[in-house]
Symmetry: C2
Amino acid sequence: MSSPRALADLPQIERRTLADTAYDALCDLLASGRLAPGDKLSLRQTAAALGVSVMPVREAVSRLASDGALEVALNRALRVPILSARAFRELAETRMAVEGMAASRAAMRRSGEELAAIRRAEASFRSLAETAQPDGARAVALNRDLHFAIYAACGLQPLREIIARLWLKAGPVLNLDLRAYPERLRQGFAIRRHAEVLGAIEARDGPAAEAAIAADIGDAADFILSRGALPATAIP
Amino acid sequence: MSSPRALADLPQIERRTLADTAYDALCDLLASGRLAPGDKLSLRQTAAALGVSVMPVREAVSRLASDGALEVALNRALRVPILSARAFRELAETRMAVEGMAASRAAMRRSGEELAAIRRAEASFRSLAETAQPDGARAVALNRDLHFAIYAACGLQPLREIIARLWLKAGPVLNLDLRAYPERLRQGFAIRRHAEVLGAIEARDGPAAEAAIAADIGDAADFILSRGALPATAIP
DNA sequence: CCGCCCGAACTGTGATCACACATCACTAGC
DNA sequence: GCTAGTGATGTGTGATCACAGTTCGGGCGG
């Protein structure tokens, strides 16, 4: 059973279903804040936009609905959930707990390469945030890159998946805001927290990393909540 | 625009799609351990078993696959994932961290009714586990009831959803074991941990509750791992 | 001029069909 | 006797159609 050596060099053909691609596309829209809370979607419209039939979109949407990143109202309308202030607070608290734990583990067990990747991500975000007119979309993406560079070092893949799901739920309300008002970055809250996290990870100080990440999340959540744009009660 | 008062007393008609029902049915099979790791499913067969078309089953399966509770192999075969020892360990560690945190919060903020519910669930499990020939299926169900009675008191709904997903992934390997060898209960490990948790929650001692839940999870995981039935590397 | 009603357009849901692919049993060939 | 090719069967995936329910706007009646 010998085969030509050239066969071993062939790259594996990537096998992705259209539903997977549609899921990724919608995830990207949600995570980047290009879909705002309350935005309505239509299976047929998004299918047309993606150039496929409704079937793959149905599957993608049903997954996202299962994640709580989309919701199908009783009206059979499909929309990005409008979190109540209470739900948003619970989500933020959960993120502080879960992501804080991931950061703590990352600080204690990060490798040299992982630390280097975190350093690069932090520097990229900082250099952008310090410009006079930060680009909101890029800020969102770089902030995401930094956080996930940290969580990548936590050593627990299930934990990373959980965090990714939490970001899908929080993404629209958080990132829509950051996208719309990138000048808030100039206040320097995020930069300070990120520096604290980086320092803690360099020093392998788990509790400090946990506190800094929790503070980063808490700062942003408090800002959103203080603006009072979130409804007190859930919209039916 | 007045309406007879009797209308207000009508219970809302529950609007569930067939896909939701199919999802719940499959969840139940997974959580109770009636589906074992490696078991293969077929859309058409399960659809026939549920008396519906393949469409609702497709949606349910795609959600479960997104949760990692099922997987579609490259062969286009649908099966319950066979966790590698490493993946199982990471899952158990994640559960210890997440569920421990939930138990800690539950201990500190539980209400009187929540404590009563936890007491009842603990008593039910204990009385079953102390019988000479414990019923495996009932043990699985009561253990689940107890854990979720605790997590219900944590005050964070997103956290409860996360835990439910983790149980879907761990359910088949854990509960298949408990179902098959219920006499292990007689060793009393679970009973002891549960008593510790209950005591900690009564005393509003968060750290103790966290430690007891983590130990409960760790005990079971160590037992499974020590048996060595899990493959060292993932099956493709 | 305001309120109500009805119909057209659109929504998600479910069923059914078509297709490419994987698997297995089997046979022909070396 | 063993391997490689070949067909039948069953798989998930995707497209298309049918339908109940909703939404929204135009027009009738007040």
